[in-house]
């Protein structure tokens, strides 16, 4: 058996990773809550964001945390354009079409990255990548701690944006009743695109937070997207607090499964939870549907 | 033939059907009327098995069918139409009807032949090869009727098949319904078009706010003050009577 300190460290590490997972899931759940679509391209867009972080670091020497400033608006714009000019028009408003179009997008993005960057795995060599913070008996990775704080901060900001601003009101109106919203003069296609843009902006932030401790290759998004789906289903499709709780929970489960089952089997716990939740309660365990 | 016993259906706090009982005699055309939102369609979903009653039960030919799935009830001989039409939009009219015909005919050719006959009967003959999504409202109502009929039911549940039709379309379809009954199919129909109810039904049940408030031959039921009030609001029966006296 493992000593309590090791288990405690695994739990805390899991929670820290979970917060970044939550951020990734946040984009997915937001898009689902408003557009009622499952965005299969979410993982590929995350990969693209991670490559963007790597690129600006290698080419311009821009620190990943500073890269948040240019990359977030960039990915917002990218997401806006993708929804407005590709997904929206191509899918003719039909759900299974949207599923297929986003699948097509993910194939295109992933393989464009493969063609551009080849399949090598790349990392950033920051001087703080391996720094640790002592926290009682625990040694915690500094960049992961930053990631944890920032992810929670972004979740709160997003929640404020949705509940306090006019844009947020329009988004929530469209989420509830798009026909009614269009009657009172809300441009539904615009709101859809803004929502998709916000989802991608979350990915950009998540990528910046991940890169100091993680690596990127063209297929990396696949691993994340399934985890993100699990979180979204677990937290209740469309629920922001659900995504946060779900993310922390999944980070926790993954870390413990990894500790007890080993790396190759570690992820299985997540998928079993995923299947079970889908089969038993597809509206999510944390209830609230936003 | 059909007996609903004290059926209650709750959706959360809302009681859509409340202790409703009714009987449909074999070979009859029975009407079910009531104001909007009275629970008529919900009662149909209980009879056809799409929803299970919160309390009470449904007997068909003397057997308790309350726990049967919808397709089992269809096999027993209960066919329903949908108030909001539900065509198989990507299929042709003939193929739509053939799905119903397949219930009693395993072979494709038999089912298609049967579907064609049924289609002709309800007046969809010229439309058989068209896509179901190209039909007009009246056409879609006929398609609902045709598909249900193609299952060769003993009991036909018609949910407002006349709604949205113009008077001449209604005149066209009434003889079709009468002919179906002549062949021995029992009919229970929800209808708002009172003239049709008067012409077609021997027996009428009135549902209001989930309760059966009156039953009897159509002419009697229409004079029932309870029924008038259910449709026109409290005090309406009094008012009408006074107006009649003054006139």
């Amino acid at each position: 058996m493992y000593s309590p300190a090791i288990i405690a460290e695994a739990v805390v590490n899991g929670l820290m990773t979970g917060a970044v997972y939550a951020l990734i899931a946040l984009g997915l759940t937001l898009v689902y809550g408003v557009l009622h679509i499952i965005n299969f391209a979410h993982g590929a867009l995350l990969t693209a964001a991670m490559f963007a972080v790597w690129l600006v670091y290698e080419a311009l020497g821009l620190d990943p945390y500073l890269a948040i400033l240019p990359l977030t608006p960039l990915f917002f714009g990218l997401g806006y354009a993708v929804q407005r000019f590709v997904i929206g028009p191509a899918s003719h408003g039909n759900d299974s079409n949207i599923l297929l179009v986003t699948l097509g997008l993910s194939i295109v993005i992933e393989n464009a990255l493969l063609a551009g960057f080849r399949s090598d795995t790349r990392t950033l060599n920051t001087d703080y990548g391996f720094q640790v913070v002592e926290f009682g008996p625990l040694l915690l990775s500094k960049p992961r701690l930053i990631g944890f704080g920032a992810a929670i901060l972004v979740t709160v900001l997003l929640w404020l944006l949705l509940s306090r601003t006019d844009t947020g009101k329009a988004i929530r109106a469209v989420a509830k009743e798009k026909f009614g919203a269009s009657l009172v003069g809300i441009d539904v296609a615009h709101v859809y695109a803004v929502t998709f843009g916000l989802g991608c902006a979350c990915l950009a932030v998540a990528a910046c937070l991940l890169m100091p401790t993680f690596y990127v290759n063209p297929r990396i998004g696949q691993a994340f997207v399934l985890v993100a789906f699990t979180i979204v289903v677990l937290g209740g499709m469309g629920s922001i607090p659900g995504a946060l709780l779900g993310g922390l929970f999944i980070g926790f489960v993954e870390s413990l499964c990894g500790l007890f089952l080993g790396d190759s089997l570690g992820q299985i716990g997540i998928f079993l939870i995923f299947i079970l939740v889908l089969l038993v309660r597809p509206t999510g365990m944390f209830g609230a549907k936003a | 033939m059909l007996e609903v016993q004290n059926a209650t259906k709750r959706f959360g706090g809302l009681v859509a059907v409340n202790q409703a009982s009714l009987k449909v005699e074999a070979g009859s055309i029975t009407g079910l009327i009531g104001p909007n939102g009275a629970g008529k369609t919900t009662l149909f979903t209980l009879i056809s098995g799409f929803e299970k009653p919160s309390e009470g039960g449904v007997l068909f030919e003397g057997e308790d069918i309350s726990s049967d799935e919808p397709h089992v009830r269809a096999r027993r001989g209960i066919a329903r139409t949908f108030q909001i039409v539900q065509p198989f939009a990507g299929l042709s009219v003939l193929e739509n009807i053939a799905v119903g015909a397949h219930l009693r005919h395993a072979k494709r050719s038999d089912a298609l032949a049967r579907a064609e006959r049924v289609g002709q009967r309800v007046g969809l003959g010229p439309e058989l090869d068209k896509s179901a999504s190209s039909l007009t409202v009246a056409g879609r109502k006929r398609l609902e009727l045709a598909r249900a009929l193609a299952t060769e039911p003993k009991l036909l549940l018609l949910d407002e098949v006349l709604a949205g039709l113009n008077p001449s379309e209604i005149r066209d379809i009434i003889p079709v319904i009468l002919a179906i009954r002549e062949e021995g199919v029992t009919i229970l129909m929800i209808e708002h078009v009172m003239q049709a109810v008067m012409n077609l039904c021997e027996q009428v049940y009135v549902l209001a706010q989930g309760r059966i408030i009156a039953e009897g031959p159509p002419a009697d039921v229409c004079d029932d003050p309870k029924v008038i009030e259910a449709y026109l609001g409290a005090g309406a029966a009094e008012r009408l009577k006074r107006e009649k006296v003054h006139a």
């Binding site: 299974s96 699948l103 393989n111 464009a112 079993l272 089969l279 | 949908f82």
Partner: protein
């Protein structure tokens, strides 16, 4: 099925069977066998997705089961490869039934069904990658022992014929489905489940039937793959690549049609090869084209290549009549 339904399928397969007589280049035959394997996997997907409207994103679960069963039964238990192949196909059907029973009984449909199938395939991939019985991450190698009784052949042409025969058999099966009560009910479920129920269709049974047949067909493709390449590992057998291939071909070729998956697989991989020739050895370039085609098909040609052909034939016919 009538003679008129069967004849085009038989003629097409007979014509294709002549190909090895004219082409003996290994690279071309390799390409053709691989394309036929993909077509077979896609034919399986099409039965459930095209006719039944249930979009699975995890057909790798069946492909992998067929592949691993074929490989492991002969390598570990010494069972004859032909029998192992047959058992693999049955195992695919069984996996299909189990996944179908669990998901359809819980009422999963649309995106939820897509997600749950994806998750099942991932679970199988992780298990196959970790278990020792399956050879773990190293995979399973089937020993080279070229004998027809051993499902291994001197010439690639023989493999081509076997793959073609399987594809032809599934064409006939799909043609039968299209003209049967089962098929009519399956399509009814796709178009409107509530209406199907009201007309006496046992929707759960019909969907289960479809996913079981679908699983068997795609598992057969997996078994063939294992037997052709004599190697299987978790990322090949249960990888998302095959789930995606199985979706792409029917949609590009013609969703819910008998010939759609075959047409789609040939068109996609033909185009993929051309792109690779044109663009040099840039990895992923063919898949980029596939993804683009998927989007284009959904946007502009919802009935796929066959739909486009039919439309242009009709307008040409109309022009002639005018």
């Amino acid at each position: 099925m009538t003679f008129r339904d069967i004849a085009p399928i038989v003629v097409l397969i007979a014509l294709l069977a002549l190909v090895p007589a004219f082409i003996s280049a290994n690279t071309v035959l390799n390409f053709l066998v691989f394309t036929l394997i993909i077509a077979l996997a896609a034919q399986g997907w099409n039965i459930l997705g095209g006719f039944g409207g249930q979009f699975s994103f995890g057909h790798a679960a069946f492909f992998g089961t067929g592949a691993y069963a074929a490989a492991l039964l002969q390598v570990r238990l010494g069972i004859n490869p032909w029998i192992a192949f047959a058992i693999g196909t049955v195992a695919g059907a069984a996996v299909g039934w189990v996944i179908g029973y669990l998901s359809f009984r819980s009422g999963l449909r649309g995106s939820y069904f897509a997600l749950v199938t994806l998750a099942f395939a991932e679970v199988l991939r992780i298990l196959a990658n970790a278990a020792t019985f399956t050879g773990g991450a190293a995979g399973v190698l089937i020993k080279l022992d070229v004998r027809p009784g051993n499902f291994q052949f001197e010439s690639r042409g023989a493999f081509f014929w076997i793959a073609l025969a399987l594809v032809g058999a599934v064409l006939l099966l799909t043609g039968w489905i299209e003209r049967s009560r089962f098929g009519a009910q399956l399509v009814a479920v796709r178009e409107n489940e509530a209406a199907a129920k009201a007309l006496g269709v046992d929707t759960l049974r019909v969907k289960l039937g479809a996913i079981t047949i679908s699983g068997a067909v795609t598992a057969a493709a997996g078994g063939l793959y294992a037997q052709y390449f004599l190697y299987v590992d978790a990322n090949i057998a249960y990888g998302t690549w095959i789930s995606v291939e199985a979706i792409l071909a029917p949609i590009v070729g013609g969703l819910g049609t008998v010939f759609g998956p075959l047409v789609g697989a040939v068109a996609l991989h033909g185009l993929g090869e051309i792109t690779k020739l044109a663009a040099g050895s840039v990895p992923g370039i063919d898949l980029m084209v596939f993804g683009g085609l998927l989007i284009a098909a959904v946007a502009f040609a919802p009935a796929g290549i066959l739909g486009l052909l039919r439309r242009s034939a009709r307008s040409r016919g109309a022009a002639r009549n005018a």
